[in-house]
Amino acid sequence: MDMLPFDVNTLTALCWALFVIPFACAFTLINFGRKLPRGGDWLATAGIASCAVIAITLFFKVIVGFGAPEWAWSSAAYGLSWDWISLESLQLPVGFYLDNLSVIMLTMVTIVATCIFFFSQGYMHGDRDYPRFFAYLSYFCFAMLGLVVVDNLLFLFIFWELVGVGSYLLIGFYYDQEEPPKASLKAFMVNRVGDVLFLLGIIIAWQLVGTLNYTEMFAVLESGAFADRTGWALAGWDTQTLLTLSGILIFCGAISKSAQVPLHTWLPDAMAGPTPVSALIHAATMVAAGVFMVGRMYPYFTPDALLFITGIGALTALIGATMGLVMWDIKKVLAYSTMSQLGYMMLGLGVGGYVAGLFHLITHAFFKACLFLGSGSVIHSVHSQDMRDMGALKNKMPWTYRTFLVATLALAGVPCFAGYYSKDQIVANALSWGLSHGVAYYVPFVFAVVGAFMTTFYMFRLVFLTFHGTPGDQHKYEHAHESPAVMVLPLVVLAIFGIGAGGTIHPLAEHGNLWFNRLVPEPASAAVAGLEHVGADTSVHGESYETYLEHFEHNLHVAHYPALIVSILAIVLGILLARRMYLTKATDPAAVARKFGPLYGIVCNKYHFDDMYGRKGVVGGLMFMNRAFAWFDKNVVDGIVNFMGLAQRFIAFVTGLFDKYVIDGLVNFWRFFVRALSSILRLVQTGNVRDYLTWTLLGVLILAITLA
């Protein structure tokens, strides 16, 4: 029985309202914010709160239809779409797509955003650009909610870009300081790299299936009725390769947006923005949009593309966690933790744990937002981000401490807390993946478990350093105070979700019975179905894909308890080690750092990713070029004098190359190329007409010769 009867019109109106309200708020605030009482913060907050009400209403609709997990207001079937462009050659209908997943996502985003809007009223109090801040936040919500409700990939991409602009504006919010503008530009540029690949993927996908609407895309894919591929087939591209390629390219968008290796470098820098921004955009929502997108497009990914996603996710989970170990800046720890958790989600999706990955996205959003806001509360009170300035704050800030601890336990995945249910599912899926594939495929599982250990360690290190022990800076300690209610209440709400988002506190709950698992069923892989239609080989290790899935399901049940035990062991180990090093101080952290000297250095330098993209890398690259050219000159001029010596030098050269420049190559080459070309350009653009004529004639000649 339908207790909340919604007709299509109501639903359409609600969808419109969801992103028009924040946009209207943003528009009003940016123009008239200074004239409104209190800078108009109440307007923005009321706006997002009303969105939350709408989302929760929709969510109840979902709950009511508990037995019917296929509830989906797909645009085409329910008339929720209209033609944006409709021409013979170009069909682009646009509409809303509401299914259980998007409704849950909407609910999460609006609730977290509402908490953060309230928190910001306290945190940003007295800021010079108070109205502008709320205007930007509202704008961001508009773009984010739009991203969730649209029904096709092109519009997802457009909102994706709009979200990126919001992030750019908010990271650079303190534009008169030195760091933020740089960080915002970095975030913008790094994201463009991913976005370009994403767009390329979208274009190829469009070419392949002839539509960008999710439902239609999967339907076409499943039936194997690919768009005309004659040209492609002639060019030697088979469908399987194209499908995998476009899937990987689409995922590349998520690599930059969700801060996956190697395009993660912008996320830690993005912490230069105000803390509520870090909580909303760079922890709970925007960075998770990449995961959401992968979830949305899940049936589109071929097994090979999923393998790629798994690899990137596993690497990110581990690398992020290791960097979290050594940071002293409280927000940086959380940033790397976010990166690592996003890696977990990708890993989960990649190994076939569709539900696990997305569930973790939801639970993580709540407790990570809570952690960021908690750190904001601490920073607000201590006026420092360095954990060495903190300590013993639990007496001064009891509520912040309590909520922070709850969120930490949730993040670590301690049983009964929300994070436990989602993270444990990911680990179980990773183990099952290993079991189904063979020995070499245990790597993601191992990474996940090691990552879980590190996560627990660095989070408790953070808690101990900040809230326990002795004050690092006596002066700051004395001036520390609990934050006002408007900041504490959102913390409490988020902490409650940190416990409750799992939907149960039964530690041994069967995964299939969790609310999320029941509401969001795993879609069948349309890619595999489509490939089978066109006769491509989809077998896994010699058995058909269906058999593989059965094995996987079976192994998942087998894996549940072993995975659980291993991850609980990792957690306990993490807590104990953190306690020994930072609470009881039985082991000196500095000694440990010395022991792992070189490794510690590499991690502290963020694996040299920044150097690689930055100036150091450029100079290095140019030096390498110089050396290479010099080597060439010398050897050509001298002739082959001593073959052995040459060979020796060659080996040394290659080793040196591998040592230092193996990853830099491409980036630096491009820069070098740009430089070389612009100097050629300078040579050509002399201002002398006679030279111009010569060059032009030369161009014509080359053209004619090419053609002849």
Partner: protein, 483 residues
């Protein structure tokens, strides 16, 4: 052969009216306020503006389809006639705040503009090489004059002379090419040449050479590498309204004729040229993208930006499909609005003197938020950032190109260059929002300029969100090429 006058007017109605308008303007200049500077200028400008707008409006009454031996008025031609008329109107708008700098020639500027527009409209209806060449010369010669329009400035003279010399070279290529085509096919007419071309398995070297020379001549107009070399110097030296007109009008002339030649005259045979065109496109994108980075002069910068846009147009041209032809038409319109807005802003900010150094726009956001917003919109659209029209234009081009497997590398390369270009457009934005203003004088924006800026900005925004009518018009125009 008898001439049917009514049919002639049906095809060349716009041109006849433009010719008439030009003559009226000359007479007005002579009769009104003899001996004074501003009187005739105001009268001529108002009249030219009114006339152009009226003809533009009238062009929407016209029905495509009239065709004769002398010319053709298919929907493609009509689309571009409207485009050129709109460009001329916008250029008059850009010229209005610039007028006092045109000094002695201010009354003749609109007249010359009307005459070049006539030439451009004529070209869009051309269906033989004689009309093509004469029309092209009409356009170029008048543009030479408009580039050297401020003889008291050495830069303007330099621009004019360089333009003349290089223009002469391009005309020479053109004539050579036409002679070769005539020599091998025995006709000047597109339809007959097309028949000869497509009757043969492979083109004889003479014909190939001729067509190549013609394409080279048009490459100059489009600003394709390696025929782009005049662009930076001429753009920088010419008076800003002329540059604005050059950047849109001259480029579009190249586009119109290249499309006619490649899609209609060469037809299926153009498939053999895909690699050459794709190579040119890649080179043009590269040169435009990298050349723009070190620029510190606004007009020069926009010149390089224009080269990289020519690259995108070539990508579409290399793709031999109806979709890509439609994409080109869409592209040029979005380019028109974004570019005209940028040039008008340049005219306004460099009002006090003629320095167009990029410092001029530093801190624009504080001096005039309106101008800053307009310039931002225009730059983002040129860069191809999503909600704006420029994004959709690029998207259409690439979507058409990706259907051709042989061009996937080009699509990937264009995307790479699009990112590179984003860098320098962002540098402009950084100057607008994050630098302190170099000069702080009051920026006077007249009502007309404000209206035009608003119009351009709205168009850039509207065509990014609701592009259906424009896409429809573009597709209709493109489809008539393939009939």
């Amino acid at each position: 052969m008898n001439i049917d006058t009514s049919q002639l007017f049906a095809i060349f109605g716009v041109e006849s009216l433009l010719g008439l308008l030009g003559l009226v303007l000359i007479v007005t200049d002579l009769l009104v306020g003899k001996g004074r500077l501003t009187g005739p200028a105001t009268a001529v400008r108002t009249l030219a503006f009114g006339g152009l707008v009226a003809i533009f409006a009238w062009s929407f009454v016209l029905e495509p389809g009239a065709e004769g031996a002398l010319g053709t008025l298919d929907s493609f031609a009509l689309f571009f006639k409207r485009f050129f008329l709109a460009t001329a109107v916008a250029t008059l708008g850009v010229a209005a705040p610039y007028e006092d700098r045109l000094s002695a020639g201010r009354a003749e500027f609109p007249t010359l503009l009307v005459f070049t527009t006539l030439g451009m409209c004529l070209l869009s209806s051309a269906n033989d090489f004689v009309t093509l060449f004469v029309g092209l010369e009409l356009v170029t010669v008048v543009l030479f004059l408009m580039a050297a329009y401020r003889p008291q400035l050495p830069r303007s003279i330099e621009a004019g002379i360089k333009f003349v010399v290089i223009g002469a070279l391009s005309a020479a290529f053109m004539v050579y090419g036409i002679a070769f085509v005539y020599g091998t096919t025995g006709s000047f007419e597109f339809s007959q040449i097309s028949a000869v071309i497509n009757a043969q398995e492979s083109l004889p070297a003479g014909l190939k050479f001729g067509l190549l020379m013609v394409l080279v001549g048009l490459g100059f107009k489009l600003g394709a590498v390696p025929f782009h070399i005049w662009i930076p110097d001429v753009y920088q030296g010419a008076p800003t309204p002329t540059t604005a007109f050059l950047s849109v009008g001259s480029k579009a002339v190249g586009v119109v004729l290249l499309m006619r030649l490649v899609y209609t005259v060469m037809g299926p045979a153009a498939a053999q040229w895909t690699t050459v065109l794709a190579g040119l496109a890649a080179l043009t994108l590269l040169m435009g993208g990298l050349g723009a980075i070190p620029q510190t002069e606004l007009k020069r910068f926009l010149g390089y930006s224009g080269i990289s846009h020519a690259g995108f147009l070539l990508v579409a041209l290399a793709t031999h499909s109806e979709a890509s032809a439609g994409a080109i038409l869409f592209y040029v319109v979005t380019y028109l609005f974004a570019n005209m807005a940028a040039f008008l802003v340049i005219v306004i900010v460099s009002r006090t003197d003629d320095d167009n150094h990029m410092d001029r726009i530093n801190g624009l956001a504080n001096r005039s938020p309106f101008l800053a917003l307009v310039l931002t919109t225009s730059m983002l659209s040129l860069a191809g950032v999503p909600p704006f029209a420029g994004f959709f234009a690029k998207f259409m081009v690439l979507r058409a190109a990706v259907a051709e497997p042989a061009l996937v590398w080009l699509v990937a390369f264009s995307l790479l260059m699009a990112v590179t270009s984003l860098y320098y457009y962002l540098c402009i934005l950084k100057r607008i929002y994050m630098r302190d203003a170099v000069d702080t004088g009051f920026l006077e924006i007249s009502g007309g300029a404000r209206l035009l800026l608003l119009l351009c900005m709205l168009a850039v925004f509207a065509f990014g969100i609701y592009q259906q009518p424009l896409v429809q018009a573009a597709e209709a125009g493109a489809s008539s090429l393939f009939r």
